[in-house]
Symmetry: C2
Subunit: 142 residues, 2 copies
């Protein structure tokens, strides 16, 4: 818990109570929260926190390389504190996002005509599927 503080002290990011609360919420969080999820949680302890602070902090962390923006939900940006490269599977029904820790880099080869136009630097796979909960729901509907 307290090592979050030492971890970020070095990085040259100024540690305010609001930021520490955000960092604690994100630490180990595997839910891929959106800004509002973070805002709602942190506001419980810091009722005057502003959305601007949440967005500013998320942007700072992203710039420092300690947070990833997930562009998988067209309606809002989600955030992922796990910056080791990995992929996601999303429920087409409820939008739940689950991690997929497999490195597909070796098999994701690009055709030469693409390589002629682009110098690749990374990849990310979005899997789509139906989560167990939604499979049950759908079964019941029929």
């Amino acid at each position: 818990m307290e090592n979050i503080i030492s971890k970020y002290k070095d990085k040259g990011i100024r540690l305010t109570p609001q930021r520490i609360a955000i960092l604690k919420f994100l630490e180990g969080n595997t839910d891929h929260p959106a800004a509002e999820d973070i805002y709602r949680k942190v506001r419980r302890r810091y009722p005057t926190i502003s959305f601007a602070t949440v967005y500013n902090t998320l942007q700072t962390l992203t710039e420092k390389g300690d947070l990833l923006e997930i562009t998988i939900d067209p309606t809002r940006r989600h955030y992922d504190p796990n910056t080791t490269p990995h992929h996601h599977i999303v429920c087409t029904d409820c939008n739940e996002i689950m991690d997929v820790f497999v490195d597909y880099s070796d098999v994701l080869t690009l055709p030469s005509h693409v390589l002629r136009e682009f110098k690749p630097v990374g990849n990310h796979v979005d899997f789509y599927g139906v989560c167990r909960k939604c499979q049950k729901k759908k079964g019941g509907e029929n």
Copy 2:
């Protein structure tokens, strides 16, 4: 050109001049336009067209399975009239999007603990890279 009309007449989509203009703009378009790109183009011939018409038409086409929404740019939705499954590479600098027509399904295998939670229905790979134009620009900066 005229076969667009016959193609969609069957599908039970009512063909208005505005819709035909949108369909013609999308036909074979490989630029992955956003709603505003479509609006701006079609407005040249139909100056009174509304954004609502553009969005309604895009939604209708998506529902009929003749258009794909591309969730790769966090600031706006892009659309792809090519509905055969394929992937994309995006320039991290200028956001240009290029198609990648390779079927990776066989090699994108999921771990069993993920398969226990999700019944997969599809996948999409986002490649990131730097396009030739931006490679030159960046080279010049240094």
